[in-house]
Symmetry: C2
DNA sequence: AATAGCCGTTGCGAACTACGCAACGTGAGG
DNA sequence: CCTCACGTTGCGTAGTTCGCAACGGCTATT
């Protein structure tokens, strides 16, 4: 649609991987150096890119600024903050906050494990829909036709032996999640990690986000993990209240 | 330099303030709706922007992803993580990590205060150079001509009664910081907050970042704050070791 | 010390991209 | 049922952006 913008955005994607030189960057988007230079200059003037030494370009401060400003704007994030921090401090495991938007599930906050062994994750990352507990929680609240539509459009790459690989199985799983009020990922995404998640609800009872707790299997077996469900659900409930949800009798 | 890119970046800046409609956005950059639409579509295809309902645009996941990926890439950040988290957990005050790059001081990490009263800050934000402890620490390590050049180019807006307002005073302050090995901001930036900062050094002894601790004056008087200096400096030293610095004799 | 090679930078003319216009489609509200 | 508001589309033109080629600064090499 807009060629130069498209190229510039691609450049930023490349720069996210690390510092690059002008030649490398122009090669990536397949244009002459001078063209890449012009784009980089514009990006630089907005602080989206900065020069690192003479020969390298890196992502700049504006990007961090924008991203964090936008993240802060999310009411859920602020509302859930205390409950999540508390859970993390109490149990010491990695806690994530995720939300569903524009067909994707993205992590919007995280509290790292205090244990030496941790899972790798990142705010802003997109979570795979078929094998994460947060995605199950978020999708389980969508209306049935939409759920079916999504379930049938997924690819179901089998990431571990436990990964769900068919739309039918996934839809059944979503029903289970909806009924139980929580979701699990029993090493469906990564072999050594399992995970439980619960919904955070807004004023009208709709699911606005999902909290999850991820634990390496070596630290806690599956039953042990499920033992923390009451605590996780209490956390989700506390966050829900902050989001305007009112417990019904 | 590149008109359409320039416009698109401006749009993103606007969107950081909150969701906007197409008309609002086209007005901001002074173009026809159709033009703004094309830009937004391109941004959307890269996930930098997403539609919120039918009538609103918001910043998208790619932005968060890029920003956090780039932040993680910073070795200092990862290296200093444990030491900073520890200091924050032990004292409970807000801890910041900042670095100097491209003529600016930006916050690259923070650990929020556990006290109910906190200062407002944000990762990615640019810190004013003349009135923050982190900036003083970072600038104090630059070679003398560069320091002078910067000191003379600043504006020195007086944000509080204590703000330094002249190049001469600022240069003298930098000398003091360099000599002492730490910097203070005695309510020079915000009336109710004071702050101490110390340098984190790399393998060659150069200052690679600055740690600071910010405390509301109502919680601790200035002498009390200075009492935490040994702790802050120990933290900075631990982080420096992680960055490859070796304590001399 | 001289030279070659690498990388970023600049000015220019040509071509294509992206612009504004105007008309259409859709949904909400009166 | 009509009107209004907003997003969307196709099109011709003009202005922006592109690639080229030459320049200049820097480093490494012999």
């Amino acid at each position: 649609m807009s060629q130069s913008l498209d190229r510039a955005l691609t450049l930023m994607g490349e720069l996210a991987k690390g510092a690059r030189t002008l030649d490398e960057l122009s090669a990536v988007i397949g244009v002459h150096k001078s063209t890449a230079l012009r784009l980089l200059r514009t990006l630089e003037s907005h602080h989206f890119v900065r020069r690192d030494g003479v020969h390298h370009y890196r992502l700049g401060a504006a990007l961090f600024d924008l991203a964090n400003r936008a993240l802060e704007e999310r009411d859920v994030r602020r509302a859930a903050e205390n409950a999540l921090r508390d859970l993390n401090a109490r149990l010491g495991y990695t806690v994530h906050l995720a939300s569903y938007e524009g067909g994707e599930v993205i992590y919007i906050d995280k509290y790292d494990s205090t244990h030496p062994m941790r899972m790798y994750s990142r705010i802003g990352r997109r979570a795979p829909l078929h094998c994460t507990a947060v995605a199950k929680v978020l999708l389980s609240d969508l209306p049935e036709p939409r759920r079916r539509e999504i379930a049938e459009s997924l690819d179901y790459p089998p990431l571990t032996a436990n990964t769900i690989t068919t739309p039918a199985a996934y839809l059944a799983e979503l029903d289970r999640v909806r009924e139980r009020g929580y979701a699990v990922d029993n090493a469906e995404h990564e072999d050594f990690i399992h995970c439980i998640a619960a919904p955070i609800r807004g004023a009208r009872g709709e699911v606005v986000a999902a909290v999850s707790m991820s634990v390496p299997k070596v630290l806690l077996d599956f039953d042990g993990l499920l033992g923390h469900l009451p605590d996780l659900r209490a956390t989700a409930r506390a966050a829900s209240v902050e989001c305007g949800w009112t417990p019904r009798d």
